[in-house]
Every structure is written in structure tokens, then in C-alpha cells.
């Protein structure tokens, strides 16, 4: 939202960039300073949280106490429960059991794989589609740009959850379909950002120089445009991942996403909604724990993005979102 005229590159501040006059230059003196990524304390904690869930998503099935579909029938002494559903937390089941008597902790650990796996795959798909079409539209221009951009407007004129509902109504729900659905829905916003960056970079002198040298389209995209758009796109990736996690979880929560018996954080909240009425002692945890798992992941990613964009290219990234 800044004026064109206000966007003048400030002169490089030698003292802050750590360039000492007595040291030999490793790059040209007018090259932009290399920015190291320094996170605040909150940012560091967030990185730990995100890393924790990512690791759990990979090794979950090996460390979980039970299988995701295992019914707890007897306690540690071998006595059978009258009703194993909504057990309170104990040394046997650390977070209690759900409405069918399955271990909540195990299902959260297994669910990490489903929730994070689907969201990550969908976001990567969204990025692949959005960046390929966005940069291509910016570089090619003309009717290809016009057609792609109008199609993009059409997808963006739907609330994402509505697109989800309409597609699930038509095609039913399966994990591959969810990935493609979320991938296409969110590719529309990635396309917009990628195209805007493409336009901004394509008019720069160094691209013109490359064109004048006779470099091909692919070379210009991979060597000149993408590296310059990488940092803002990386911060946007984090935000987009949060949206996708929330989108998939909401669909699952509505009973239209991941189908049982596969555990997934969103559908776990839905299944155990009845337990909420029993209060904290008997069942509310079954509903709250998976919801807090989603929240811890999305808040942590958001805080990292906030931290990174405050330090590097913040204004540019904010302008695009």
C-alpha cells in the first residue's frame, strides 16, 4: 500500500551489515546483505513445537502405546471395564479414552500423521500449481495471463469451505480427493501472489539484461525470478499451511473429511463432542485434546511466520497477503 515513489532502496548501511572496511569483500560491495535468521524466544519455542509434531507425524505409529483402532477392554490388572468409553486419565491411558473406548493419546499421535500429512501434501500441491501457473502467467502475459487470472478470480469468489462442501457432495470424501481439493482451492491464492511477484521482478533491470543476452524463458524463471521471490513465498507457505490445516480440520469436523476409523484431529473433536457434557473428569478431554493439538500447531506456525516476516522482507510479504 506504499506509493510507488516511496519505494526507494535505502543506501546500504555499512556498520549494521557487518561489512568491515579491513575485510575483503566476498561479494560485490553493492550486493544486498546476507540476512541471518535470528528468531525471538517465542519464535524458538514455536520451532520446537512444530518440529515436535513433525517428528511425531513421522514416527508416531512406533511410539504410540496402542493402535489407533484398538479398544481398551481391561485395566492393567486384567479386570474388564463395564464401560470403557470416556475413561478418566490414568497411568494406563494418559489422556483417557474416547466414545468407543480407544486411547486418546494414541489416536492423537496416529492422527498427527493423517492431519499433518494431508495438509502438507495439499499445501505443496497448491504451491506447485500456484507458482507454475502464476509465474508462467506473469512471464507469458497476453491471453494466457487473462484466461488464468479470470479462472483464478472465479475460484476465489467462493468461500473455501463452500467449495469443500460442494465438491464433497458431488464426489464423496477420500484422502486423495481432500488433498486435491485443498490443493486446488489454495492454489488460487498462491497463483495471485506468485503472479504479482513475477510482475514485480520481471521488469527489473537484471531480468531485462538476461533477456537481452538471449536467455530462454525457463532460465529466466528458475535463475532470476524464483530466487528473488523465494523469501516472501516461504513466509506465505507457512500461512497457507495454517489455512489448509484449518480447512481440512473443519471439513473433518463436519464429518465430511477424513472418514473413520482413521484418526484425524478434526474428526476426533466431532466424535467426542458428546463427552464434553460429562465435564473435565469424564470425557471433555477426549474432545479438547485433539482441538488443542491443532491449535498448538497452527499457532506455532503463525508465530514463526510473524517472527520471520518481521525481520526479513516483512513489508513486502504483508503487502502481498
Amino acid at each position: 500500500m506504499t506509493d510507488e515513489s516511496a519505494r526507494v532502496t535505502p543506501p546500504p548501511d555499512l556498520s549494521e551489515n557487518g561489512i568491515q572496511p579491513d575485510r575483503s569483500f566476498e561479494e560485490l560491495p553493492d550486493a544486498p546483505p546476507k540476512q541471518g535468521l535470528k528468531l525471538s524466544l517465542v519464535g524458538k519455542i514455536s520451532v520446537v513445537v512444530v518440529a515436535f509434531w513433525m517428528v511425531l507425524a513421522c514416527i508416531g505409529p512406533f511410539v504410540a502405546p496402542y493402535h489407533e483402532a484398538h479398544f481398551i477392554e481391561e485395566n492393567e490388572e486384567g479386570e474388564f471395564y463395564d464401560d470403557p468409553s470416556y475413561l478418566s486419565p490414568s497411568s494406563q491411558v494418559w489422556l483417557g479414552t474416547d466414545f468407543l473406548g480407544r486411547d486418546i493419546l494414541s489416536r492423537i499421535i496416529w492422527g498427527a500423521r493423517t492431519t499433518i500429512g494431508i495438509s502438507l501434501a495439499a499445501t505443496l500441491l497448491a504451491y506447485a500449481l500456484g507458482i507454475i501457473f502464476g509465474i508462467a502467467a506473469a512471464v507469458a502475459g497476453g491471453w494466457a495471463d487473462a484466461v488464468l487470472s479470470r479462472l483464478d478470480d472465479a475460484i476465489l469468489s467462493f468461500p473455501s469451505i463452500m467449495l469443500g462442501l460442494i465438491f464433497v457432495a458431488a464426489f464423496g470424501s477420500s484422502i486423495p480427493l481432500l488433498i486435491v481439493l485443498a490443493g486446488v482451492v489454495y492454489a488460487a491464492s498462491v497463483y495471485r501472489i506468485a503472479r504479482a511477484f513475477g510482475h514485480e521482478i520481471i521488469v527489473q533491470d537484471f531480468v531485462e539484461a538476461a533477456r537481452a543476452r538471449g536467455e530462454g524463458l525457463w532460465w529466466i524463471i528458475t535463475r532470476e525470478v524464483l530466487p528473488n521471490a523465494a523469501m516472501p513465498l516461504a513466509t506465505d507457505f507457512g500461512l497457507r499451511l495454517v489455512f489448509v490445516i484449518l480447512f481440512i480440520s473443519s471439513l473433518s469436523f463436519l464429518g465430511l473429511g477424513v472418514q473413520p476409523p482413521v484418526s484425524d484431529w478434526g474428526s476426533m473433536v466431532r466424535e467426542n463432542l458428546q463427552g464434553l457434557g460429562n465435564g473435565l473428569g469424564g470425557g471433555a478431554l477426549a474432545c479438547l485434546a485433539p482441538a488443542f493439538a491443532i491449535a498448538s500447531l497452527t499457532i506455532a506456525i503463525n508465530l514463526i511466520v510473524d517472527d520471520v516476516s518481521a525481520k526479513a522482507g516483512g513489508s513486502l510479504a504483508k503487502k502481498m497477503i
Binding site: 469468489s157 467462493f158 469436523f253 465430511l256 473435565l280 474432545c287 479438547l288 503463525n302
Partner: protein, 315 residues
């Protein structure tokens, strides 16, 4: 300015048309034969052919679309595949409930967000600002249903103040309705306000960094007066834009919230329709929600055109 506004309204109509084409394509043409789905196991070649003829499926897609959109515009929304009731009557029963809930949310959340946004912007970096910024950042990243279930647990289950399920019989008085709806309304207000507070704060702070505000500071005008007289007035355009955008987000919010509280509204009708694959309901509700969304986005755009002279005269 007017040609631009008219142009935007024209684009809005085109978008609604595109939305209708997409909904029709996805729900009627792509999934295959609706007659086969409807009849399921009981399908024989004769009954299939008869039902296809009855539903008009033997005609080309363009003709089918023309019939469909014609019926939609004349208010003939078709018959629910499940119950046999007309969709118009189903929607009529429920649309009032959804409108009532969103209206109350709007009336509560707009003043609340502007007030908190202003308070935060008044002393950037201060205690209020940090508390507001941090909590709204957290709330934005949290799924809607988390806020709902925490509120249910604390206010309905533990404290027993309000009902956890928002069932309406239709004969309640206004205040009774409000107390039954307290939880869904509170949830939606929190969800929508978090976004609006952040954007209001950003809008006011953006104005605060402009030269004329600097001039006012140098003149010695008190900070409160600068915010209310200079910054707020100039931020009104962006704030109206933000409000319209966030009402558009409400369209998504009601889907999850009505389901949690089993509230008999339009979104619940649609979600139930999706679960039973009742296409006429999905089509009708989808059109209502998506058109509302497009119209609200349109209002947001027009607000920013009207309030910003630079957009009125593009280069």
C-alpha cells in the same frame, strides 16, 4: 468514480453467474448420472430411462443449465431428494434463524472491534496493545470449533449459565432467543472480531505514520485528539472495507458453528444436505451463501474505491 463503481457491480454480476455455472457443473454434470445415484440398487433400464426423462437428464447440459437457472430465478428451488418437501419451504423456515444470528454478531462485533483496535493503536507497544495483538494473533490461528468447545465447557457444562445446544422451537421471545443463542453468538463474535481488531489497528497505525499526523504531533495536538480527529476519520474507508470482508468470513464461520450447536439454520441444512448427498439442497444453499459472499466482497471493494481518491482515478 461512478463508472468504476458500476464496472465493479458489473463484475459482481458476472462472478455470481460464474459461481452458478461452477456449482451446476460440479453438482450436476461431473458426478455422473443423477438418476442412477437416486435409484441406486433398484435401477432397471426402464426406470432409469423414465427418471432421466423426468429429471430432464436426457437433454444436453446447456439446456439443463438453462432450466435450472430459470427455476432458481423464479424461486422454484426444486424438491428435496430425501424428504420430498419443497426446498423453498425448508429454506424459508431456516433462513430467518441464520440471518438473526449473523445480525446480532454484526451488531456486537463491529463496535467492539473498532474500540479495541483503536485502544491498541493509541499506544502502540503498550500493555493493551501487546495483550490485544498477541491474543488476536492466537485466536486467528485457532480453529473455530476450539473456541466453541472451550466456551461450552466453561459456560454451559461447568458454570451451567447457558444451554449448550441452541434448539429453537420458533415461539421464543427476542430475549429468550438471545440467551439460547449466547454461545454461538459469543463464538462468532470472537472469531470475527479477532480479524477486525487487527485490521483496524493496522489501518489506524498506517495513517499515523503519514506526514500530516506528524505535523499534528509537532503542533502539540494531544494524542487522543490526533487518533480520533485525524487518524480515525481517514481510516474509516479501510475500516468499512475490513467490516465487509469480515462479514464475508462469517459465511464460512456459520457453517461450523451451526453444526456444533445444532442450530436450525441454513448452514446446518446445507451440511446435512451434503451428508445425505441431497443435491438440490446443496445447490440452492450453495448459491445463497456464495452470492452473499460475492456481494459482501463487492461492497468492500466499492467502499475502498469511494473512500480512496487514488483508486478513483487510476493511472
Amino acid at each position: 468514480m461512478w463508472p468504476m463503481v458500476l464496472r465493479r457491480i458489473g463484475i459482481g454480476f458476472v462472478l455470481i453467474w460464474v459461481v452458478s455455472v461452477l456449482i451446476f457443473l460440479v453438482t450436476q454434470v461431473l458426478p455422473g448420472d443423477a438418476a442412477e445415484i437416486r435409484l441406486g440398487q433398484a435401477a432397471t433400464p426402464e426406470t432409469l430411462a423414465a427418471l432421466r426423462k423426468e429429471l430432464g437428464l436426457d437433454q444436453p447440459a446447456v439446456i439443463q443449465y438453462a432450466h435450472w437457472i430459470g427455476d432458481l430465478l423464479t424461486g422454484d428451488l426444486g424438491i428435496s431428494a430425501a424428504g420430498g418437501a419443497t426446498i423453498a419451504s425448508l429454506i424459508e423456515n431456516r433462513i430467518g434463524n441464520t440471518v438473526f444470528m449473523t445480525a446480532v454478531v454484526t451488531v456486537v462485533s463491529i463496535p467492539l472491534s473498532i474500540l479495541l483496535g483503536l485502544l491498541a493503536a493509541m499506544y502502540p507497544g503498550g500493555l493493551i496493545d501487546r495483550a490485544v495483538t498477541f491474543s488476536t494473533l492466537g485466536l486467528i490461528a485457532v480453529p473455530d470449533f476450539l473456541i466453541a468447545i472451550v466456551l461450552i465447557l466453561v459456560l454451559a457444562v461447568q458454570a451451567g449459565l447457558v444451554p449448550a445446544v441452541s434448539y429453537l422451537s420458533g415461539s421464543e421471545s427476542f430475549w429468550k432467543k438471545l440467551s439460547i443463542l449466547a454461545l454461538p453468538i459469543a463464538t462468532l463474535v470472537i472469531v470475527v472480531s479477532a480479524q477486525m481488531i487487527r485490521m483496524t489497528r493496522a489501518g489506524v497505525l498506517n495513517v499515523m505514520s503519514s506526514p500530516y499526523v506528524e505535523m499534528a504531533i509537532l503542533k502539540g495536538v494531544p494524542r487522543r485528539r490526533i487518533i480520533l480527529r485525524h487518524a480515525l476519520l481517514n481510516a474509516i474507508g479501510p475500516i468499512v472495507n475490513v467490516i465487509a470482508l469480515n462479514l464475508a468470513y462469517l459465511v464460512s464461520g456459520v457453517v461450523v458453528i451451526e453444526t456444533i450447536f445444532a442450530y436450525p439454520g441454513l448452514a446446518k441444512l446445507m451440511v446435512d444436505g451434503v451428508q445425505t448427498r441431497d443435491m438440490p439442497i446443496v445447490q440452492a444453499c450453495g448459491m445463497i451463501f456464495c452470492s452473499t459472499y460475492v456481494v459482501l466482497i463487492l461492497i468492500a471493494d466499492i467502499a475502498s474505491i469511494v473512500s480512496n481518491p487514488r483508486l478513483r482515478h487510476p493511472k
